[in-house]
Symmetry: C2
Amino acid sequence: MDRLDKKILRLLQEDSTLAVADVAKKVGLSTTPCWRRIQKLEEEGVIQRRVAILNPQKINTRVNVFVSIRTNAHSHEWLKRFSEVIQEFPEVVEFYRMSGDVDYLIRVVVPDIAAYDAFYKKLIAKIEIRDVSSAFAMEQIKYTTEMPLDYMVLDKETNSSAA
Amino acid sequence: MDRLDKKILRLLQEDSTLAVADVAKKVGLSTTPCWRRIQKLEEEGVIQRRVAILNPQKINTRVNVFVSIRTNAHSHEWLKRFSEVIQEFPEVVEFYRMSGDVDYLIRVVVPDIAAYDAFYKKLIAKIEIRDVSSAFAMEQIKYTTEMPLDYMVLDKETNSSAA
DNA sequence: TGTGAAAGCCTTTAACG
DNA sequence: CGTTAAAGGCTTTCACA
């Protein structure tokens, strides 16, 4: 991966409907090499997928809840079961194993507090959890799927050659 | 929005490279009406954008940090400034105003703890914050841009008519 | 690796039930 | 609102530098 791949990724992270020819123009390439690069980035799994991002307002999932979970069952078995349970819920859009005093953190999207309560009841009915604490977001000020590309490790461009 | 729009959204949330004809087939429509529906969903802003999702591993942003922020400057001015500062950082991918004892919650993506420390220093150099506490994720178990569509409010399908 | 052009597929429009 | 079919554009491939 080099500077041009990075430019391509930057563009496609913003808008994946861009035509290959347009991407090519913007990065200063003609279509075929640009197409080949995009292809390669997909094969290598750098580009994982292309998706439509929906407006949460319009689909009635405007409330974000962060749920901190503590457990005493630190077994592999419990985590496996917990994982499976969580994956089943489409309301859970993010799920992290944490360091520190909280064991797991999940982000849940729902229309309102009542729906969160229903979700919560369904969750604790399915698996035993020592301690759950919920924090409600009043407002989502920023949300993006664009990752910073500043940390990308680029191949040394010692000259014009590459692998 | 009706049941068919919902199906279309479900498909495009998963994979926006699907050809209109394929979407049409899957929802049991022919291409033109399906195309018109997708067009409308975009115009109405239900579909906000189409983006490429990158693999965090490959672009060296595998570490997620959740930063809880408390402030005593509860003024509109302070929030405006804070917002602007945060938006500037590509490492901040989510930003919420919270209820409860934490005022703001942000998710930061970086390659490692050292990079987080550098980010942290840049942040506090730019704006005064009363209290910052960082929680590191050891593992991202689930991350999806797919929102649950179960809460969507559908038009009453009393018969076959619509607006 | 890059260029330019040809082939084929998809999107988009139009004409019509 | 649905269908079928034609037009135009984009992706993808190929031959070549």
